[in-house]
């Protein structure tokens, strides 16, 4: 995706190329091009750094992801699966940093396993919802013939009672899907797609608005006048320029997806018992609330911390990506 017209544009990572292309196309200001070495992402990063909350949020989020992803290399994941009745209901200790549960399973190991599932659900569901939202938003914004129909469709989706529908979807399709794909994959697919297809509406609306404005800009006109087909105009000129709102809504989408998954698991309609996710662990801890409140705290704090840090990152990203607030 590197741009031949600008020899200094960095070649390599996919998105850098995309941005360089868009910068070159937008580059009515030759001043910006002649400074060369400075990519748009450096500007964004500089701006992002000034938002202290976002920086701390990003650090916390990455730390949690690192612990959850790399933890099993250091900490035996078997500890979270095998029950050990003699060591049950233990408090915090060096052997079990978060204690053990009513079956003597190590809660730290279970938290890491649960985090992997919760984060995976969050990321995949976010990806799905952003893809659907962007597709519908771009189509509605770019092609006037589709606009009315697609936006009515979005409005209808916005009027759906989402949580009840999610619960109903999980109730109805849990068994057939687990029969086909097995328990873990089946429920993962079910929950990810259920969350994905019920959360794309905001992204679609934002993207449509941006595309409507972009469509009128000169560079799109220029591209069209040299006979670029719509498909290429969209992928080459429109999409790179709506990247920032998409990124912001993707960030916030992870948070929503994680909360929704935990809510489903908490209500007992998410992943099956014995299959730890943060919401499930929280739900499992509730009966022991009076004796061992910490069992509810760990997953609850993990969910809240992840969501809080993601919200801050989203806030910082919005500031950094919006040129109107950029700088002073």
């Amino acid at each position: 995706m590197s741009d031949a017209r600008d020899p200094r544009s960095p070649i390599g990572a996919e998105d850098e190329g995309v941005v360089a292309a868009s910068a070159a196309v937008m580059g009515a200001e030759p001043v910006l091009l002649s400074t060369g070495a400075r990519s748009q992402w450096l500007d964004v990063w500089d701006q992002f750094k000034t938002h202290k909350g976002a920086l701390i949020g990003a650090a916390i989020f990455l730390a949690i992801v690192a612990v959850v992803a790399l933890g099993p290399l250091v900490w035996d994941p078997e500890l979270g699966i095998k029950s050990n009745i003699r060591a049950r209901n233990e408090g915090m200790s060096l052997a079990h940093p978060f204690g053990t549960d009513q079956l003597g399973r190590d809660i730290f190991a279970r938290m890491m396993a649960g985090g992997r599932v919760s984060l995976a659900v969050g990321l995949t569901a976010m990806f799905l919802s952003v893809v659907i939202g962007t597709l519908i938003g771009v189509l509605a914004g770019y092609f006037r013939a589709l606009d009315g129909a697609l936006m009515r469709f979005t409005d209808l989706f916005l009027a759906l009672p989402l949580l009840p529908l999610l619960l109903v979807m999980v109730l109805l399709f849990r068994e057939p899907l687990t029969a086909v794909f097995g328990v873990e994959t089946g429920i993962f697919l079910l929950i990810v797609s259920a969350i994905g297809i019920t959360s794309w509406m905001q992204t679609a609306r934002i993207v449509r608005g941006e595309v409507l404005a972009l469509k009128e800009r000169e560079f799109v006109l220029a591209a069209r006048s040299i006979g670029t087909p719509s498909r290429r105009v969209i992928t080459r000129h429109v999409l790179p320029n709506v990247l920032s709102p998409i990124m912001v809504s993707a960030t916030l989408g992870i948070a929503t997806a994680i909360i929704t998954e935990s809510a489903l698991s908490f209500l007992g309609l998410g992943f099956p018992p014995d299959f730890p996710t943060w919401g499930r662990l929280l739900n499992d801890g509730v009966p022991y609330l009076e004796q061992y409140p910490e069992r509810v705290f760990w997953p609850g704090i993990a969910i809240s911390l992840v969501v809080l840090s993601i919200n801050y990152v989203g806030d910082g990203l919005r500031d950094a990506l919006d040129p109107r607030i950029r700088g002073r």
């Binding site: 409005d155 209808l156 009027a159 759906l160 009672p161 989402l162 949580l163 009840p164 529908l165 619960l167 109903v168 979807m169 109730l171 109805l172 399709f173 068994e175 057939p176 948070a255 909360i259 935990s262 809510a263 908490f266 209500l267 007992g268 309609l269 919401g279 929280l282 739900n283 509730v286 609330l289 009076e290 409140p293 509810v296 705290f297 609850g300 704090i301 969910i303 809240s304 969501v307 809080l308 919200n311 801050y312």
Partner: protein, 335 residues
């Protein structure tokens, strides 16, 4: 304005029909026989009655039509009969719950007061807190109060109700023993002590719900105030020597309230949805908990009807918000 309202009302009908269709098809696409889950102890004649009430065995469009008729015609007739003692709906088949073989709407009517009490109080409390907080943090932007407020609203956004609920139970019910952790729905308020007890048992669920709503509303109120504080008319008002209090509390506040009022209207159905989790945590047996138990018991007519009621609420409050916006803001007149 009237034509606009009328037009929106007309658009609401296909929306509702579409949602009804989605819910119906979702339950329709679900594999398996819906009657297979009915316990064997249910006598055959009741089973037959239930089959008829569902219209099972007939093609899907006819069943859909029957459900719609039951929901929009027979059930309202029953409510009318109940209120005025007439007998229009006698002998007509109502939507029957599979779980307790009673008409779905009777069960729902039993549960609605609890939900309304808890959710309604929470919403009022949240509005009363959010508006002053929003006004002050916008007026003193970037002050310590504003920063703290922003942080608290971020937490209110991020901590899901199933955690904040459990958290307040541990703190206030288990450790401090100030409030009961479980909502006693059989409690009757007949004297002062009973009223105090009612307040105490409502405190925790209301607090959890109100925290969530407050954080959204105060964010919005703040943004809306900030938009207006920079306007020219504010400078004019100050320039002509109005007291600061009347500039902020009358000129700015009135204009800032326009979008906030619509957001408040739009948020009401969402609160019903969010209350599902809070009701579950505090064991309030409102309609949210009814939905969960119905889902767990595979009680499809109940699930179908409740989900649709939530949808009706959303569409209704969207309509109210649109109309309110037109009434409050003369600049926006849809002709």
């Amino acid at each position: 304005m009237l034509t606009f309202t009328f037009r929106r009302l007309i658009f609401a009908i296909p929306t509702l029909l579409f949602i009804a269709l989605v819910i119906f098809l979702l339950l329709e696409l679900a594999p398996g026989d819906p009657m297979a889950n009915v316990p064997l102890t249910v006598p055959p004649e009741v089973k037959e009655q239930m089959r008829q009430a569902l219209g099972l065995g007939e093609p899907a469009p006819i069943r859909f039509w029957k459900w719609i008729v039951q929901f929009f015609w027979i059930e309202p007739l029953n409510i009318f009969d109940h209120l005025f003692g007439t007998g229009f709906a006698e002998g007509k088949l109502r939507i029957i719950s599979w779980q307790n073989r009673a008409p779905v709407f009777i069960v729902i009517a039993e549960r609605i007061p609890q939900t309304l009490w808890v959710v309604g109080t929470a919403y009022v409390v949240a509005i009363l807190i959010a508006i002053p907080v929003g006004i002050y943090s916008a007026y003193r932007q970037y002050s310590i109060f504003d920063q703290a407020g922003t942080f608290v609203t971020m937490i209110g956004f991020s901590v899901p109700p199933f955690f904040s609920g459990v958290l307040v139970i541990v703190i206030f019910a288990v450790q401090l023993r100030w409030f009961p952790s479980i909502y006693d729905t059989t409690h009757v308020v007949d004297d002062w002590d009973a009223f105090v007890f009612q307040l105490r048992q409502m405190f925790l669920p209301v607090m959890v719900l109100a925290l969530q709503i407050t954080s959204q509303l105060s964010r919005f109120m703040r943004a809306s105030m900030l938009d207006n504080l920079g306007q020219d008319y504010v400078r004019t008002a100050r320039a002509k020597g109005l007291r600061e209090r009347s500039v902020v509390m009358i000129h700015v506040l009135r204009n800032s309230m326009i979008p906030v009022v619509t957001v408040i209207a739009l948020g009401i159905p969402q609160v019903f949805g969010g209350a599902i989790i809070t009701e579950q945590v505090f064991k309030v047996n409102g309609i949210g908990q009814l939905l969960i138990t119905a889902i767990q018991a595979n009680d499809l007519p109940m699930v179908q009807t409740l989900t649709f009621i939530f949808a009706v609420l959303i569409v209704l409050f969207n309509l109210i918000a649109d109309v309110l916006y037109g009434i409050l803001d003369p600049r926006i007149r849809y002709e």
